[in-house]
């Protein structure tokens, strides 16, 4: 019995090895960083390239920038993925810097507690980190690319509350964390602003410290099913790959869902899913990364500061693909303007 379990485990190990990060890294192994040459190093979040979300969005931005600046996408970009437990994140950044890549872009807040020290060790290299504020770190060659997720989520809440027939909506978060808390806070505030007293079901798929909630499609489906059965008719997810399950549940329940990060209406896997994705809260990591690299090559980087993407800059937005929210566009635009003007203060913690 125990031996069978051991074999099973070992087999699982080998299998998961095959399944995990099939990233097609590109770039040269030789030392880059010649005069004037743009050599961009990208360190992914766990999951690596091909996650149809965060990492893919970041690399799309890098490739767009390198292309626009006349570089070679294959030769001038080096992508690295951390190992499954993320224990070698520091090595990724240092080796990119040591091999002459500049700038080095860390995708994801998981790099937040090490990137400050590493950037300080390589003052000649410019570093950027997505989703982490760096202003208190006091490192001149480090830029934070941060987003006002709560503002976009507020608009998602406005859309959901305006469209809800039952006065009952839901939110599925990936991992319990301050980052996803911003989505929840904004969404609830937006819904409450339009329809005071609206019921908002909230469910997180994994506790703090356990990132499994971003890749748990089944868990996302069960959570959303529960909400639809309880009477919710629109569910917003901020759960990465688990969102797939939320959409499935929406299709089965004949209700609607709201996507996140990219325009998920466009990337939906089936027409049935397209029909239920009412809108998506856009977080344009690609645009932020692209303009960062452009600034870098033009020598316009400030360093030591954060670059904020929000509704005002367009780095945060609500998608309109499918035309499901065209009839309430004026309401949304009205709230958008109030947020941009500072008349509405959106909370960042639930």
């Amino acid at each position: 019995m125990t031996k069978a379990a051991a074999l099973l485990l070992a087999g699982g190990l080998a299998l998961s090895a095959c399944a995990s990060d099939e990233e097609g890294s590109s770039g040269s192994g030789s030392n880059g960083g010649g005069e004037g040459d743009l050599k961009v190093g990208v360190a992914y979040d766990t999951g690596g390239r091909g996650d149809k979300s965060f990492n893919d969005s970041a690399i799309a931005g890098v490739e767009a920038a390198v292309e626009a600046l006349g570089g070679d996408v294959k030769e001038d970009i080096q992508e690295l993925s951390p190992n499954d437990d993320g224990s070698d994140r520091g090595e990724l950044l240092t080796q990119l810097a040591e091999n002459g890549f500049n700038p080095v872009i860390a995708v994801g807040f998981a790099y937040g507690d090490i990137i400050g020290d590493i950037a300080a060790d390589y003052p000649e290299t410019q570093f950027a980190i997505v989703d982490t504020s760096v202003e208190e770190m006091g490192v001149d060659n480090l830029t934070g690319l941060i987003f006002a997720e709560e503002e976009g989520s507020f608009l998602a809440g406005v859309a959901a509350a305006s469209k809800s027939a039952t006065g009952h909506i839901g939110f599925v978060g990936g991992q319990e964390s301050p980052l996803i808390g911003k989505f929840e806070a904004g969404y609830k505030a937006g819904a409450e602003a339009v329809k005071p007293g609206i019921i908002v079901d909230v469910k997180y798929l994994s506790p703090a410290g356990d990132p499994s909630g971003f890749g748990d499609s089944e868990g996302g489906k069960v959570a959303a099913q529960g909400m639809y059965q309880a009477g919710a008719d629109i569910v917003f997810h901020a759960a990465g790959g688990s969102g797939e399950g939320v959409f499935e549940a929406a299709v089965e329940a004949g209700q609607r869902a709201i996507g996140v990060d990219s325009d998920q209406y466009l990337s939906a896997t089936s027409p049935e899913q397209q029909a239920v994705i009412m809108t998506s809260m856009l977080k344009r990591v690609d645009n932020a990364v692209e303009s960062y690299i452009t600034d870098f090559s033009e020598g316009d980087l400030q360093g030591g500061t954060d670059i904020l993407s929000d509704l005002e800059t367009g780095g945060i937005d609500l998608s309109t693909s499918g035309g499901f929210i065209d009839d309430i566009q004026s309401v949304i635009d009205d709230w958008r303007q109030q947020i941009v003007d500072g008349e509405v203060e959106v909370p960042t913690t639930p």
């Binding site: 070992a10 190990l13 990233e23 993925s81 090595e91 240092t94 060790d121 301050p178 410290g209 356990d210």
Partner: protein, 392 residues
């Protein structure tokens, strides 16, 4: 002669396993259209400058230390036929509590570190003790209860981290405990490189390496040279026979799990005391499960586990340079997985070969009786090792 043959058999299995794993990996690399020789080169290339080479050694050793402790924790239970899958939860609970206690007190350096270690071992032992108590009082399979306790540990650790032990400020993207003060940090071993005339690496070598070596020796002596160790191995081989000869099997389950849990409690400390100085949402997870693979590969002997941990760490180090050479880092995971799988299979084959030899051979009187072939309660390797030592 017998001794030689025995050594030959015990080395043949792992060697065969590594060869099989290399063949499979070569095929995989060919299948994705890359050159296997490049991969091999990357595996063996530690860098151009002396500092880069010592850095590679530091990376390997720093990775091997927690893997070794994890393998050791799993193996202690394995030896008795207990499958402690709960090492993952045990070290997670231990690390979060130790981080909290370590940050809350200020003591002179050696005492501070000692306190953190004792707390970690105690928490790990208690968490594993729950499994033991459930097993001896209610007959709950340790496999089931330890898996379930992993989930509870994950949730509890998360609650401790976000609640009472939270040290990072509100709104920070990574939630952590408060940093352990200077006196609770384990000094690095970088002086060693100067002492033996090597270049200084850019990183720090975990001082916890020394603790790991000491724990390895203690466990080794405990298992091989004490009455307790004999009882443990005997119970692992045949619980009923052990009971008949006067060993209290229930007490043995509790003691073994406590030791296994105490060692598990140390797994997170190299990182905690040598690098991060806090527990947090990004603290390295999964070492408990890797420990099962390392213990299998090391055939449950402390020395074997040390080699297995070094091998895993050696392969892990290549994950980054492989990507520079356009080869996916998952190649490393594939090698590790196939090695473990092959070791399990090779052990089985080696045992059958030695059994046949015994059945047909002559002059076997002085040799240890070969296995009777019945599948034991322990994982592959346990029986052979224990039997050989019992016979020796």
């Amino acid at each position: 002669m017998t001794a030689l043959r025995r050594i030959g058999t015990s080395l043949a299995a792992p060697a065969l396993a590594v060869v099989v794993a290399l063949v499979i990996t070569t095929l995989v690399i060919l299948a994705i259209g890359q050159n296997p020789m490049t991969a091999l080169q990357v595996l063996l290339d530690f860098g151009d400058t002396p500092a880069q080479q010592t850095q590679a050694i530091v990376v390997i050793l720093n990775r091997a230390v927690p893997l070794f402790l994890a393998g050791l924790a799993v193996s202690v239970a394995f030896r008795m036929g207990l499958f402690n899958i709960g090492v993952e939860g045990q070290y997670r609970m231990a690390t979060v509590v130790a981080a909290g206690v370590g940050a809350a007190v200020v003591l002179p350096a050696p005492l501070h570190i000692l306190l953190i270690m004792v707390v970690a071992m105690a928490v790990g032992a208690i968490w594993a003790g729950i499994v033991a108590v459930l097993k001896v009082t209610r007959g709950v399979s340790e496999v089931i209860s330890s898996i379930m306790l992993n989930f509870i540990a994950l949730g509890t650790a998360s609650w401790l981290l976000t609640g009472p032990l939270r040290g990072s400020e509100e709104g920070a993207a990574i939630i952590t405990t408060t940093d352990i003060p200077e006196s609770g940090r384990f000094p690095a071993l970088n002086g060693l490189f100067d002492a033996i005339g090597l270049a200084q690496p850019r990183g720090q070598l975990f001082g916890f390496l020394i603790v790991a070596v000491v724990v390895g020796i203690v466990i080794s002596v405990l298992l091989k040279r004490t009455r307790f160790g004999f009882d443990l191995r005997a119970t692992g081989l045949s619980p009923s026979a052990a009971t008949a000869s006067g060993i209290d099997a229930r007490a043995m389950v509790v003691k073994t799990m406590l030791i296994s849990g105490a060692v598990a409690g140390l797994i997170g400390l190299p990182d905690l005391l040598g690098r991060t100085y806090h527990f947090g949402t990004e603290f390295t997870a999964g070492l408990g499960f890797l420990g099962i693979a390392v213990a299998l590969l090391g055939r449950n002997s402390p020395l074997g586990i040390a080699f297995a941990a070094l091998l895993f760490a050696f392969l892990d180090r290549a994950a980054v340079p492989l990507q520079f050479a356009d080869i996916p880092a998952s190649v490393v995971t594939i090698i590790q997985g196939t090695i473990v799988l092959s070791v399990v299979i090779a052990n089985e084959i080696a045992r059958q070969v030695s059994r046949r030899r015994a059945e047909h051979g002559t002059g076997q009187a002085s040799a240890p009786a070969p296995d009777d072939g019945a599948t034991g309660t322990g994982p592959a390797g346990t029986r052979i090792d224990a039997r050989q030592e019992a016979g020796a």
